[in-house]
Every structure is written in C-alpha cells, then in structure tokens.
C-alpha cells in the first residue's frame, strides 16, 4: 500500500509513538495515509484505539517478526 508518509517508531516506548503519530497525522491531508512502524507490543492495542479516538482508520495492519506496521488513513475530524 502506498503511504504518504512513513514514520519509524521502532525501539521507542509508550507514549512516544502516539505523540509522534499525532504530529505526523497533523501534517497530512484528510484521506492521506501514514505508515507507522513500531516494536512496542502495547501499540497493537494502542494505535487502533488512538486512531479511533481521533477519527482515523486503520486500513491495513501487518506483523513482520517483532515489528508491527499500521497504515492509518487520516479522518475528517480536525485537531
């Protein structure tokens, strides 16, 4: 899937991936895709919850070994 921006949060611990994701999404336009890479197992729950709370959609999710990858489509709700 083609992403508009790739954010590498591998090795970073909670809550830093959430904060970086928030900043990255703010720079995107509605319906653009953020591809997020993380190794924090908590992110498996946290990223979808964060996306839902902010009106974004997880359009694809993939696990490669210990890396979790999310494709997040920016929603319409403005921060």
């Amino acid at each position: 899937m083609e992403a508009n921006h790739v954010l590498d949060c591998k090795g970073l611990q909670c809550p830093v991936p959430l904060i970086q994701a928030k900043r990255a999404v703010e720079r995107l336009s509605v319906n653009e895709i953020l591809e997020l890479h993380t190794t924090d197992p908590g992110a498996l729950q946290d990223i979808p919850v964060w996306a839902r709370a902010n009106g974004h959609t997880i359009v694809k999710q993939q696990t490669d070994g210990s890396t979790y990858r999310f494709w997040i489509k920016k929603g319409r709700r403005e921060d």
Partner: protein, 158 residues
Amino acid sequence: MNGKKTTMVVFSGDLDKALAAFIIATGSAAMGNQVSMFFTFWGLNIMRKDQVVNVKKSWMDKTFGWLLPRGPEKLGLSKLHFAGLGPIMMRRVMQKKNVATLNELIQMALELDIKLIACTMSMEVLGIQKEELIDGMEFAGVATYISEANDGNINLFI
C-alpha cells in the same frame, strides 16, 4: 481536540510518580484531549529549573531551596531509592531501554500545549518563586483547578 479534558494534581516529587504523571498527560494529549496539570507541594520540585536562580529569599526559604531537589534530574525514587543509587540505576535502565526521560516528556508536554499550573500557596510554603520554575508555567490556586476538573472527564491525583 475532541472536547474531552484530563486534569491532574501532581503532589508527589518522586521520579517514578512524575514519570507516570507525564506519560499519562502526554498520552492523553496525543489522544486528542485537553490536559491540565496542577503542581502542588513536592510536585513543584519537578518543575524547578536545574540552575540556581538569583532571587531574594529569607534564610528559611533558602534552606528549603537547598534541601529540595532542583528539577527532573535530581528527583529520587519512591521505592528502591538506596540513598540515591536507585535513581541512577533506574535512569540508566530506562535510557538503555529507550524510554523517554522526564525532561523529554516535559518538553513534549509543552509542545502538546498541556497547561502546566503551579499552586501559588505551595510555592509560598516552600519558598519557590516564579522565576525558579521552568518557563511556560501558569500560576493559580485551588479554584482554578476545581473549575477545570469540573468539566473534566479524567481526574487524577499523583
């Protein structure tokens, strides 16, 4: 912003509790919530600048100033403190495991527009002056905290 609000009283000046407070606060801001943190009593130590600030003080206020930790790098642990060895080990482990430092979390809080409010009554008791706290703080009393907490969705005392 989603219109939801988190308020927090940070009473403790322990490193571990301060970390918890700032992780929850910055996480809440990332979730789209408006966040206010009220620093009172020992919690004020977290927000002290690490260098000595030249302000006029009574000898009692000066003594407090020397005895109390000056900023995030000087805080102790609530458990396993071991006369200062615990915090050194804890900071080393956290750095190795790539956990954000308290200084970094405070910086993120400022960037996320988290309101950092110092309790002026506690400042008076501990002899801490505005200039001795990090830039970007606000100063208020209990009424401000209650009025923010009244329309808050999450309220914590740490």
